[in-house]
């Protein structure tokens, strides 16, 4: 079976600088796949390319048998791909409820479906129901992250792209967010998860890719990546442990 979402030889350049230098990656229906990498490895660019926010220089992005290259961002959302962007990007002067409704903008004519999506989101993040009338800018960082994910789910996507959902959150919240990611996946949403927290990400994902300087340095089942020595050194604190003077 063909993967739900795939990238072939993807090259993205900002001016003359190539950020992604030929990436091939796939996400099957029902999977959680994680993309690991340090700052500046090109992880966010990858997700933005899928969403149509950055232009594709070479290669293709295919979703459900359709090429997404050169489609506008809003056309891609309509097809069932939703991104929770890095840094949350909630609309601070809109209320929490208005933010959620913006997430459902493409479905705005289907009120029944929106009500169901809203219920699901409220069940995942009860705090969003409680804070519905509050301006999103007044939420805490963790609550904003929940809002960003909840907002992305409002369009009832088939594929959810998550860009560093754990960034800047307290450890207890990080655990909570990853539990919720697993729960969303159980509800049938395929997830492509970009993370720096490799330990947690490999904990929820079935497979993973490691991105280094715009290329894929390693890929494989999560369990394999976890036990890979090089990856442990680079992303799981292995190097730090070894360097510690005895």
């Amino acid at each position: 079976m063909a993967p739900l979402l795939s990238m072939e030889n993807l090259v993205i350049a900002y001016g003359a600088r190539e950020v992604l230098k030929g990436i091939s990656l796939s996400l099957d229906e029902g999977e959680i796949v994680t993309v690991l990498g340090a700052n500046g490895a090109g992880k966010s660019t990858l997700l933005q390319a899928v969403c149509g926010l950055v232009g594709i220089a070479q290669g293709t992005v295919t979703y459900a048998g359709e090429r997404l290259n050169n489609m506008k961002a809003y056309e891609i959302v309509l097809r069932g791909i939703s991104l929770s962007p890095e840094g949350r990007r909630v609309f601070p002067t809109h209320t929490v409820e208005e933010n959620l409704m913006l997430g459902a903008f493409t479905r705005r004519k289907h009120t029944g479906e929106i009500a169901a999506a809203r219920e699901r989101v409220h069940a995942l993040f009860p705090i969003l129901k409680e804070r519905g009338r509050q301006l999103a800018g007044t939420l805490s960082g963790g609550e904003q992250q929940m809002l960003a994910i909840g907002r992305a789910l409002m369009s009832s996507p088939r594929v959810l792209l998550l860009d560093e959902p754990s960034l800047g959150l307290a450890p207890i919240l990080v655990k909570q967010i990853f539990d919720i990611i697993r729960e969303i996946n159980k509800q049938g949403v395929s997830i492509l998860l970009v993370e720096q927290n490799a330990h947690r990400a490999l904990g929820v994902a079935g497979r993973g890719y490691v991105l280094e300087n715009g290329r894929i340095a390693a890929e494989g089942p999560a369990a394999e990546l976890k036990s890979d020595e090089k990856i442990q050194e680079a992303y799981l604190g292995g190097a730090a442990l070894k360097k510690r003077p005895s």
């Binding site: 926010l53 939703s82 002067t93 913006l102 301006l135 907002r151 992305a152």
Partner: protein, 303 residues
């Protein structure tokens, strides 16, 4: 007391012209961060279209159905015509240069302004034109010592209805919410599935249409119109926009009204010859002491 109240009414009347024009500046700036210098000329052109309608086009309709229908037809035709002009200007003068950054767009806007002004001059001639007299019965309402004309009542009522309608659309509807989201963060708005070009279409039809209706009302109020008047009104409306906080729609409305009232009070109590000086003095003071405007940006944002 009588002078004060009457100047207050006069001020609100011209303030509502400023407010209607200011809304167009503010909407375009909010979404594109572009100061649309051609906006004053949309206003002028709207005034001239209304003039043509009232003088020639609908003389028959007026004779048939009375002045009210004539006035409404003039307003609607002018609004629709200028909405179309707004779209055309956006497509031809702004859209091709968005990618080049903000400064080229501003220069292009100045060019569009000069182009429109000259177009108006070529079509309607360089001389002043006069709106027909007595379009609206010259009735006056007397409240104690204060009198207010029927025309003023119509202008105030219509302006407030238009502003309330725009405010409702932008604040309460799904599409209005999308417009505000786009103004705040264009990329994230695109991720919600909002089509940027639709938002552009929205601001470049409603903004010019409101300006055009202000133009027709100015024609009916002062009766004399000229092809260069867009510059002066545009500048004052722009001042009103800054005064209220650019990009903020209630700010533009109140900024316009406040500016109109201050201008009229200054004219009455200090000197009519200096009234423009007050306006720009206000602009300078706001820019020095409160550059985000009276209504400023809501700063609920967490960084």
């Amino acid at each position: 007391m009588q002078l004060l109240l009457e100047q207050l009414i006069n001020g609100l009347t011209i303030g509502s012209f400023y407010a209607l024009i200011a809304l167009g500046y503010s909407m375009v700036y909010g979404v594109l961060k572009l100061i649309n210098f051609a906006h004053g000329d949309f206003f002028t052109m709207g005034s001239y279209i209304g003039y043509t309608m009232l003088v020639f086009g609908i003389a028959a309709a007026t004779a048939q159905f009375g002045p009210w229908t004539g006035m409404m037809v003039a307003l609607v035709v002018s609004a629709l015509g200028i909405a179309l002009v707004g779209i055309l200007v956006e497509r031809s003068a702004y859209r091709p240069v968005y990618r080049a950054g903000r400064l080229p767009a501003v220069v292009s806007a100045l060019g569009a302004s000069i182009f429109l002004q000259n177009t108006i001059m070529v079509i309607w001639g360089p001389r002043y034109q006069a709106y027909p007299a007595e379009l609206i019965p010259a009735m006056r309402f007397q409240f104690g010592q204060i009198s207010i004309t029927l025309l003023q009542v119509i202008i105030l009522a219509l302006s407030f209805i238009l502003m309330a309608a725009l405010y409702t659309i932008v604040q309460k509807t799904a599409f209005g919410s999308a417009v505000r989201a786009t103004a705040h963060d264009r990329n994230t708005a695109a991720l919600m599935g909002i089509n940027f070009n639709r938002v552009i279409l929205f601001i470049f039809t409603l903004g010019p249409a409101l300006g055009a209706m202000a133009g027709v009302m100015v024609g009916m109020y002062y009766r004399q119109i000229s092809f260069t008047m867009g510059w002066n009104y545009g500048l004052k409306a722009f001042t009103a926009t800054i005064l209220g906080g650019i990009g903020n729609l209630p700010g533009a409305m109140f900024g316009g009204l406040i500016l109109g009232v201050l201008e009229m009070l200054g004219a009455a109590y200090i000197s009519a010859a200096w009234k423009d000086v007050f306006v720009f003095l206000i602009l300078i003071l706001v820019l020095i002491f409160r550059p985000t405007g009276l209504f400023g940006e809501k700063t609920a944002e967490k960084v």
